[in-house]
């Protein structure tokens, strides 16, 4: 039975990873006909780095990601505090607006923002792309900061003010350090959402500004190109390595702690 379970999980792993492994493998394939193996090459990587369009798209993705994450983190944190201090009725009303982008599908979010920019006569481009990314990132920040605020001791801010801190000082010295983990995870979530986004970007960008997702989409629609394989490898390998390092360390530490706890328990 245990073997059967393992085999099942293994099968799903194979389903999830086989395409990715093949993708990476064929990025080193020296052959014009994409399916035959023609020996090892780094040619596609050289062509990738020489491709102006892809490189500028990469720049756009990173700059939009960092800017959108930073701005939506500030806005979302402020928003979470505002929501936390509101009375019940207005808070419920605001919460339903905050939840809107997450209930809606990405297509609707993209289309609706496009209509907004048309109405306001803002030309589609970098600015509209940035605004849209902030728009769909803010709710995630709010929802990751709110629980931290609920855990906060309500008397802390009062104590700070009693001891003569201005409200602003109170915020930066007392509240912010306590909710920092929520703020940070909101930032990371916003960054990944922004870098990964295609649909909303597709509808809200224009005049030659495109991010990596849009570039990949246009290339993939035209057909298979080993350059995209090379690009996937470059994106995938560092992310996986980083994730593995971070998580395996924390898993190991947890196990160590467990073993220690057990030892302590035995001594008693």
């Amino acid at each position: 039975m245990k073997k059967l379970r393992k085999a099942y999980v293994g099968l799903i792993m194979a389903f999830l990873y086989a395409p990715i492994v093949l993708l990476i493998l064929y990025s080193f394939n020296d052959s014009k006909s994409r399916a035959q193996w023609g020996g090892f090459t780094l040619r596609w990587y050289r062509e990738l780095f020489a491709d102006q369009a892809i490189m500028s798209a990469l720049g756009t993705t990173l700059s939009i990601g960092l800017l959108a994450a930073a701005i939506s983190t500030v806005l979302g944190t402020v928003g979470a505090i505002a929501l936390f201090q509101m009375k019940r009725r207005p808070r419920q009303a605001m919460m339903s607006i905050v939840n809107l982008p997450m209930l809606n599908s990405e297509v609707v979010t993209g289309v609706s923002l496009m209509l907004l920019y048309a109405m306001a006569r803002i030309q589609l481009g970098y600015l509209t792309l940035l605004l849209s990314h902030i728009a769909f990132c803010v709710p995630y920040v709010v929802l990751s900061v709110l629980p931290k605020l609920r855990q906060l001791d309500p008397h802390l801010a009062e104590a700070a003010q009693d001891l003569g801190a201005t409200p602003l000082q109170g915020f930066f010295r007392v509240i912010l350090p306590d909710i920092m983990p929520g703020v940070f995870s909101g930032f990371v979530m916003a960054l990944t959402m922004s870098i990964d986004d295609f649909v909303v970007s597709f509808f809200t960008t224009g005049s030659g500004v495109s991010n990596l997702s849009i570039t990949i989409y246009t290339m993939a629609k035209r057909g298979i190109s080993p350059k995209i394989n090379a690009l996937s490898t470059i994106i995938f390998v560092p992310v996986v390595t980083l994730l593995l390092i971070v998580n395996i360390r924390s898993i190991r530490e947890e196990r160590k702690r467990e073993i220690q706890d057990r030892k302590v328990g035995m001594k008693r």
């Binding site: 402020v78 599908s105 898993i251």
Partner: protein, 289 residues
Amino acid sequence: MNRKVWATPFIVWMVLFTLAPIVLVVIYSLTDAWGAFTLDNFAAFLDPIYINVLLRSIGMALLCTLICLLIAYPAAYFLSQKDIDKKGVLILLFIIPMWMNFLLRTYSWMSILENSGILNSWIASLREAIPAFDAMLTRMGVGKKIIFLYNEKAVILGMVYNYLSFMIMPIYTVIEKIDRSLLEAAADLGASPRKSFLRVTLPYSIPGVLEGITMVFVPAVTTFVISQLMGGGKVPLIGDIIQNQFGKSSDWHFGATLSLLVMVVVLAFMGALNRMDKDDGQQKEVRIL
């Protein structure tokens, strides 16, 4: 005073960039190109072509959700068992593909399945190597190149591949949280493993299942990327039609109408799921809000 300072910029932002756009969708759907009120856009939707596309989108999304559920539930259940080694690493391995851009994940299947793709070239070399295999395929009427892409099956495969992890994770999280002592109590009271699964694990895992269903169905019913890349435009879904209205055909008012209808479908679906989720009052509150 302090309260308002915090609240104002946030409220203004949310109203401008979240509420106003949705209101605009409603306004556009109810007006014509000159801004006059009309119901023509809704009447235009009643064309069987569009209704069929919407029904197909819903049908394919439901099928994809069902397949994901059937694959994911056992996987999530097995992963949550105590005797699986290196559980943390396994969970991580399930999450990692989600970190890859979904266009690239879809693209990887294109490169495998296309006519001169990896799978076809493997089959071709297998045929050369093993004459018996070649003879068998020829007898079955299989051509030299098998067409895998650009049909409904390919689109479903693309959807399942992209959204499977969305189903596994919530179910796993819920099963993992089930109080072990409940299962022990069931066993102590004489329940067989099968019975304790049916009476304890399964009912307690329903909120995770519903969460997974939402996370798979919503992106699946509105996708236009997967249908265009894996379906090659031959299997248009409602997402494709919407995208078309804001691109080539450029009828924004009809596009807004279709978006509104999709929104209604999604909300109705979630509402129905919520009703099934009666036991879990707290979660219900969050979703409806």
